[in-house]
Symmetry: C2
């Protein structure tokens, strides 16, 4: 039987038109290539080249062989790519969340529990997450509500309570509680990638000018500016209190959420040890 390397060589020879040129491209001596092509012909038991004394060219058989060789090599490439892809997917836990905060604990926990797995996470709208859970895009998703559907397990995971973060000089900084609408119309600093929060505040604070600042610079900017911003108990838990800022609970029902961790029953074995913590 001939081998794949010979088919690769054949393609290069077909491209170059000469053995010497192809040999150079292949980092091979021309004599080695000459013999390799002779072996290929012997294996197929059919001449593939018209040999002149100092020239070689493909005959009709050879041209047909090149077509097949190209197909076969394409397919071996597909094979490698597909298997690698397949393997990577098998080694990856895909997590989707409606908001960033619940991921902060879940991702490290998953990494700890499954050190050989890659954890892939993304923030999407709840409908997208549910769809993705059902079609297998996600192994688990984090939603701000519970789901009752057969084949889906739904476990209460965490709560998050949104807060206003105001500079002491702000007129409302003395309040013990505020509604979103109370700050509607002001300018506010905002982190990107807020997930479902974005929908809520856009709806309830339609006249507010939101200045989105990338995560890395956000804290600096909050310290330096007098603009109100959001905070939450989970953020504070993670990053500590921001100095020189007053946090005031937001009283709207929608911003005091319970996150539910949802997963298909077939990955129950993956998730239960995690949620037992």
């Amino acid at each position: 039987m001939f081998e794949l390397y010979q088919l690769e060589q054949l393609l290069i020879v077909a491209d170059c038109g000469t053995l010497s040129g192809a040999a150079e491209q292949l980092h091979l001596s021309q004599s080695a290539l000459s013999r390799s092509m002779q072996r290929l012909e012997n294996e197929i038991q059919v001449p593939l080249f018209i040999r002149h004394k100092n020239k070689i060219e493909l005959n009709e058989n050879g041209k047909l062989a090149v077509e097949y060789a190209r197909k076969i090599l394409d397919q071996t490439g597909d094979m490698v790519n597909s298997i690698r892809d397949y393997d990577r997917k098998r080694r990856t836990i895909f997590v989707g969340s409606c908001a960033p905060a619940p991921l902060w604990n879940l991702i490290p926990a998953l990494s700890d529990l499954y050190p050989d797995m890659t954890i892939s996470s993304e923030i999407r709208d709840s409908e997208v997450l549910l769809q993705g859970l059902q079609d297998g895009t996600y192994q688990t998703i984090l939603l701000p509500f519970s789901v009752e559907e057969k084949g889906i397990f739904c476990v209460k995971y965490k709560e998050e309570h949104l807060l206003f973060s105001l500079p002491p000089a702000h007129p409302l900084s003395g309040s013990s509680g505020l509604y979103l609408k109370d700050l509607n119309g002001e300018s506010m600093l905002l982190r990107p990638q807020l997930g479902f929060w974005e929908h809520i505040i856009n709806e309830k604070m339609p006249n507010t000018h939101f200045i989105v600042q990338k995560d890395t610079d956000f804290d600096e900017l909050v310290k330096a500016s007098a603009l109100p911003t959001f905070n939450s108990d989970l953020v504070i838990q993670r990053e500590g209190k921001v100095p020189n800022r007053i946090t005031i609970p937001i009283l709207d029902e929608e911003v005091n959420v319970t996150y539910y961790c949802c997963y298909a029953s077939k990955v129950k074995s993956i998730m239960t040890p995690l949620l037992a913590q």
Copy 2:
């Protein structure tokens, strides 16, 4: 890059379920096979097996790999078969004839002229031959009539005159010429593979009982029997006269034919040197 032999090995391993069994089938030591599969995994950079201490089994990647391997090896098989077929066809001159006689000279002449080519001949009806000439099935055909069509060359090749071959005792053996209908109703010996002759005599001698005898035994039978049969000038030219038989020309116009050698213009270079003879 991995090689085809490793894909073959993978298939056998998948079939057998064990390395040792597969190694035996492959006439290989199990250690060699074990390492070959390890190399395959390294090339794809993905594990294909679940390795227990004294057991090995395909994992999900491996099963996918087997599917691809099967496809690829099928395709290499196709490649070899197709190229061999293609080559064989390129090395074959396909000749079609309406009757056996004109082939007797043409085939040896072609063989002489093109000693590297295979000459493939068959006897078919004229319509089939013309169709085959146009679709490339035949490089040249022999017809009992001339054809006027663009792209087709038609050269007068040979004549053949059908004769009755009668035992001396036959009542008509003294005739200087006969029509087919004159013997209609009798029993006659016939060779097989008569081509277009068959149509003519069936039409003109509908009440005749034809006893078809295979070519090899035909002459023996003719000698031994008193049945009338056919002969022709070309047959006599080839085989000599049959002793103890009278040959009488047949006067019907249709059985005194001129064969035309017809070929596509693109194979003119093949045929002209032949017909120059």
